[in-house]
């Protein structure tokens, strides 16, 4: 369970670094973010929700059933869109209205 950061997109704003509850993400000298302690990630997805350019992806480790999908969120028309890039190349999305409660 961890995250990966696409440094070619990262603009070095530092927001992911700021919110990580374990302070696991650092910014290097080229002002690119990297996860210094990948095994220490709790999987809270806070960093992913913060990134303004959607450079961060979240994945499950193979040890807990991960199959290579990459996940991130984007805000679309006031909705939170979860985007799942599956390993077979297909994409699935789930939209959540932040103004609506969970049903369960």
């Amino acid at each position: 369970m961890s995250i990966s950061i696409d440094q070619s997109i990262c603009i070095g704003c530092g927001k992911c670094h700021d919110v990580c509850p374990g302070t696991l993400i650092k910014i290097n000298e080229q002002r690119k973010a990297f996860i210094k302690y990948p095994k220490d990630c709790w999987g809270c997805t806070s960093c992913i929700k913060e990134c303004p350019v959607h450079a961060i992806r979240f994945f499950l480790g193979e040890d807990i059933g991960g199959k290579g999908s990459k996940v991130h969120t984007e805000k679309v028309n006031g909705l939170v869109r979860w985007i799942f890039e599956l390993s077979d190349g297909s994409i699935k999305t789930i939209d959540i209205d932040p103004k609506e409660s969970n049903k369960y």
């Binding site: 509850p21 999987g43 040890d63 939170v80 959540i96 609506e100 409660s101 969970n102």
Partner: protein, 582 residues
């Protein structure tokens, strides 16, 4: 390393659920003209209050709420029954009476709560209401930012209290990224550092070792600092073992209460009714079914409707997103039941009753130190609203403490001056001692041991000898003795650890905190000569419940380096107030 001295009035250690709320309430009180304004409030948080602690990913229900037709007394009774009597009713009452008030406050701050067409909250079971709690922590953090007089120090890890003659006057810590040591002097302190994860070998010890239920960054610092300074602690033997979705360790309440999924074994039999429905019995039943060859166990979700499934996928994204990903990658809950397993044991006073022994005002046995949330003991089933309620109670008590201390000071030295400073001054020598210790770790030559290896060794020892997953949570006295020895050996090795930077120094302190907590857990497990809660404290030498000798609180205090066990009588039925006997 730079050294910075800070003076504040109210220091809050840990800016999580309870800590943030304590700051918001304390700031509100000081706006009240009857209280001396200008009280300085400082939150010190090891991460960043925007997403730190239990609420980082979000939560999707408020598990403690007084629903229509129910009373706070019902909640107290429920929690008492679930813990088989070992609770403090005064503590449970005082939070239960506040659940609905703090919920209304959360809604005002922007929390979305599910309502029916008449605008009434929709209950989930008897005690829960459903929310969209994905952003609950950012909402609290935004309220802190608006609260007058509140300052926040993010990314500063507190490692020690400053205590003299059993009275707290501040704390020590360091910035994990700014090369600064902080000596903070305060008139009163609230500790709100949450519980302790990572004591036992986790479910997934490999790459996903931190995919645990409780935040791996809550390392028991608050417990450890209190223990070392001789605070009385309670009920560390009542470990919390969560029944969770296998692999992702995501909560199961949403499945059980949301879609009514029952616990079934591999034969498809509903087994939960066979063992009882208390929190510990649900875990125990699952352990026994597995041991007796009827595992794996599941929550029966097969056949739920497409609509139900969609709501589930969304609900988990707002709380434990990895579970939704797992479903999408491996088959969704309508098609396959969800496998469940018990987690490694955690010490967490918001679910079970481990933590500081506090009075009704949440004062610990160290003068001037208050505790709130998962770090405070005696009061299980607190959850989010209980942590907020305790934050509020502790904040009010702390402000009151400052006022009476000032009155007392003014009476002794009559000068009509609000600015009189009666904080004790932290000496240069004390600062030097702390800095020297940190610099020792930075200067130590890299040796054979690392904090990571020693942490793993600690988790293995706890797993094998102090009732971890490996033994089905069971332990014997002989095993506990062995656990104690192993932990002491590991502890002796920590002095030689080396660190490249202050973040690595923090990891060393976290390890030390966990080791301190482990020793208390072991001592408490050994002291309760009975099995009152299956799995949570399953003592093989005493497999039965013993109401004659152990309808008692098992408390402890460190005296001359040894953990002294104190058995205390339960408070009286219905007792609404408890004071420390100093």
């Amino acid at each position: 390393m730079k050294i910075e001295r800070i003076k504040t009035d109210l220091l809050i250690i840990g800016g999580g659920t309870a800590g943030c709320y304590a700051a918001i309430i304390a700031a509100g009180i000081q706006n009240n003209p009857q209280v001396a304004a200008g009280t300085k409030i400082l939150i010190v948080e090891k991460a960043n209050i925007k997403r730190s602690g239990c609420l980082a990913a979000g939560v999707n229900a408020l598990n403690a709420y007084i629903t229509e037709g129910r009373t706070p007394k019902d909640y107290v009774e429920y929690a008492k029954k679930d813990a088989d009597g070992i609770v403090r009713e005064d503590l449970l009452y005082t939070i239960s009476e506040k659940f609905n008030e703090v919920t209304a406050h959360l809604e005002k701050l922007g929390l979305v709560i599910l309502k029916d067409k008449d605008g009434k909250y929709i209950a989930r079971g008897n005690r829960n209401i459903k929310i969209n709690g994905e952003n609950i922590k950012p909402l609290l953090a935004a309220a802190v930012a608006k609260a007058p007089g509140v300052q926040v120090l993010n990314h500063v890890n507190i490692t020690d209290f400053s205590v003299h003659d059993n009275k707290i006057d501040g704390a020590f810590g360091f910035g994990i990224e700014n090369d600064t040591f902080y000596a903070i002097e305060a008139k009163v302190v609230i500790v709100a550092t949450g519980g302790a994860a990572g004591l036992y070998r986790p479910n997934n010890p490999g790459f996903s070792r931190h995919k645990m239920w409780y935040p791996p960054f809550n390392t028991g610092a608050g417990y450890a600092m209190g223990i070392r300074h001789g605070a009385e602690m309670t009920t560390f033997e009542m470990r919390f073992i969560a029944l969770r979705c296998k692999d992702t360790i995501a909560p199961t309440g949403t499945l059980a209460q949301g879609v009514g999924a029952k616990q079934v074994n591999a034969l498809g039999e509903v087994y939960e009714t066979k063992y009882g429905l208390s929190t510990s019995e649900r875990v125990y039943g699952t352990v026994v079914e597995n041991l007796e060859g009827r595992g794996p166990c599941y929550l029966k979700t097969e056949g739920i409707s497409a609509e139900q499934e969609e709501s589930l996928l969304k609900a988990y994204l707002n709380m434990a997103p990895s579970q939704t990903i797992r479903w999408i990658e491996n088959g969704t809950p309508s098609k396959a039941n969800v496998e469940i397993e018990g987690t490694e044991p955690y010490i967490v006073g918001g679910h079970t009753a481990s933590g500081y022994w506090v009075d009704t005002k949440r004062a610990t046995t160290i003068k001037g130190l208050y505790a709130a949330g998962d770090v405070a003991g005696g009061c299980p089933q607190k959850y989010v609203t209980g942590a907020l309620a305790e934050g509020e109670i502790a904040a009010k008590s702390a402000v009151e403490y400052i006022r009476t201390a000032r009155d007392c000071f003014v009476a002794n030295a009559p000068r009509n001056d609000d600015k009189i400073d009666y904080r004790r001054h932290i000496s240069e020598k004390e600062i030097e001692n702390h800095v020297t210790e940190i610099e020792k770790f930075l200067g130590n030559k890299k040796g054979a041991q690392t904090a990571e290896n020693l942490e793993e060794a600690m988790q293995l020892a706890m797993d094998a000898y102090a009732g971890g997953i490996k033994t089905g949570y069971r332990y014997s006295e002989n095993q506990l003795n062995r656990a104690k020895k192993e932990i002491e050996i590991i502890e002796a090795l920590t002095d030689n650890l080396s660190a490249a930077d202050l973040q690595e120094v923090m990891y060393i302190y976290e390890l030390k905190e966990r080791l301190t907590v482990c020793k208390s857990v072991i001592a408490h497990l050994a002291a309760r000569h009975e099995t009152r809660w299956h799995s949570f404290a399953e003592n093989l030498d005493y497999p039965e419940k013993d109401n004659i000798h152990f309808r008692k609180y098992v408390n402890s205090r460190l005296e001359n380096g040894e953990i002294k066990i104190i058995l205390r009588e339960l408070t009286a039925e219905g007792q609404k107030n408890y004071e420390h006997q100093h």
